[in-house]
């Protein structure tokens, strides 16, 4: 088994078709029986981290679930509420058995009997087909169920997922007393992973941790899916070894054409193009420059757009998408939007919006039931840091001409976009559906 790229995306056909169960098994071989344990250690030795945004060590979670007592449930999180992300859609639409293999392998290793796939309605036809095929083959020994995720940004937050699966609001809950690994779906210990994390598990179960570590660097092993939106606004999903330089991975970041790079998505950070170019694709490297890769989002703001206007639009989206439950988040995010709107689009104002924005960030961080406000604060802080010159100019001379250009990244109302997948194949029919998001 070659460790080289592509790994996860190896099964992608050039025609954009979804890979069925027989072809999947031809490519990867049967899923080994992981019932006797050992997979937890392999996941630990591999150094696998969660790909849902927080980069939390997967094995730590598995051990917590295993130690919680009772029969666990495994949840594959394919909600992908982040508009600038398309990797989970690609996996679930075109490589669904990789994700299902990972969930089944995890379930077997943890003695769970039940797997739930949590994904938006537009993923339904393909997933039902895949789950049916597995049911017919009867090889899994666990039941797989599909749950349709609500179409909203916070739906994929782990306590929101569990709330929804338990028949409640589907909004985040304060989980200090009952973390999902101890008390999740139906009160059972719940292993909840991002779809991509489980796809990696499918291959670790087959080829082991040493094989996994052949890609990437010793301190950042493996590969990662990035959703890259170029200055042309077209997103594509690419797989890279960790540690590769971002500039090389995305085919160069041209300072003349790109004003700034959004790393980690709407709750992520703006990074200047040169820093982004030289950045190794590892979460540690991103954090060292005050950024995050989050769920693997890289978006290049074109040079003819106003970064403050774009930040204001994204903040407005995050404000609309908050769950309206926690005072500091409710008040703080709408305060940020007012300040950013004034700064980006308002008339000339001498006021010190930057200072007030900093205060609002201080006031929301760590004070919600979920990390949604922390993401908004991270985005705003990075904008104030990276776009200090633009802030000054807006404050002194009013909005720049570029701020009148239409929004660039999707913030809810625009038409579906086409997504190029891993090997560059374009298939508008299927891929248009990959990122089209309807507002709730």
């Amino acid at each position: 088994m070659s460790p080289l790229l592509p790994r996860l995306l190896r099964g992608l056909g050039a025609d954009g078709a979804s890979i069925g169960l027989p072809a999947h098994l031809d490519l990867w071989g049967p899923l080994p029986d992981t019932r006797r344990g050992g997979l937890v250690d392999d996941v630990a030795d591999a150094g696998l981290r969660g790909h849902g945004g927080a980069w939390f060590p997967a094995a730590t979670k598995w051990r917590a679930v295993a130690g919680a007592g009772g029969r666990p449930v495994v949840v594959a999180n394919g909600a992908e509420g982040e508009p600038a992300s398309a990797k989970d859609a690609l996996l679930l639409e075109r490589l669904p058995h990789l994700v299902l293999d990972g969930a089944v392998a995890a379930a077997r290793a943890l003695r769970a009997e039940h797997v739930i796939v949590f994904a938006p309605a537009r993923r339904r036809p393909r997933l039902i087909e895949a789950i049916e095929a597995r049911r017919r083959s009867a090889a899994d020994g666990v039941s797989i169920e599909l749950a349709v995720a609500p179409d909203r940004f916070v739906a994929g937050q782990e306590t929101a997922v569990v709330s929804y699966l338990n028949g409640r609001s589907g909004l985040p809950t304060f989980a200090r007393f009952h973390p999902v690994w101890r008390s999740g779906v139906g009160g059972a210990p719940t292993l909840l992973h991002n779809a991509e994390t489980l796809a990696h598990v499918a291959l670790i179960a087959r080829f082991g941790s040493e094989w996994y570590r052949q890609a990437g660097r010793p301190d950042a092993p493996g590969t990662v899916l990035l959703t890259v939106t170029g200055v042309d606004g077209a997103p594509s999903v690419v797989e890279t070894q960790k540690g590769a330089l971002l500039g090389a991975v995305v085919g160069g970041i041209d300072r003349q054409r790109c004003r700034a790079v959004l790393l980690g998505g709407y709750g992520g950070t703006w990074v200047d193009p040169d820093t982004a170019s030289r950045l190794p694709v590892t979460e540690e490297a991103a954090r060292a420059v005050g950024a995050t890769f989050g769920a693997g989002i890289v978006a290049m703001l074109p040079h003819d757009r106003c970064p403050l206007a774009e930040t204001a639009r994204i903040a407005r989206y995050l404000d609309q998408e908050k769950a309206d439950q926690c005072g500091p988040c409710v008040r703080g995010l709408s305060g940020m939007v007012a300040e950013l709107d004034g700064l980006a689009f308002g008339a000339r104002r001498a006021g010190d919006a930057a200072r007030r924005l900093g205060q609002l960030c201080d006031l929301v961080e760590g004070r919600g039931a979920c990390r949604h406000p922390d993401g908004a604060a991270r985005l705003v802080r990075s904008a104030l840091r990276i776009f200090a010159d633009e802030v000054l100019q807006h404050q002194q001379r009013g909005p720049c001409p570029e701020s009148r250009a239409p929004g660039w990244l999707p913030t809810g109302d625009e038409a579906p976009r086409h997504v190029r997948s891993g090997n560059g194949a374009i298939r508008p029919g299927a891929t248009g559906a990959l990122t089209s998001r309807s507002r709730k």
Binding site: R176, G327, R367
Partner: protein, 86 residues
Amino acid sequence: MRRRVQVVVVDPVACDGHGVCAELLPEMISLDPWGYPIVSPEPVPFGLDREANRAVASCPRLALHLLDAPDGVQAAAPPPRTASRS
């Protein structure tokens, strides 16, 4: 017997900013500009257990909780009551 070391946490979903807690436990809880509590992450200091328990019991939304602190966390002596009110 060793005294239990505890921290105060607020459930932001349940809390509606009554502010009763900040009145009863000003050493550990202040209010933000919107009236929502900002709770000190430090363990409840010696001598303030009674006040902390009273604040928890008095929250009309049952949003305030005492949690056992992780092992190894030590409680400090309390700040003087008057100083923190200023």
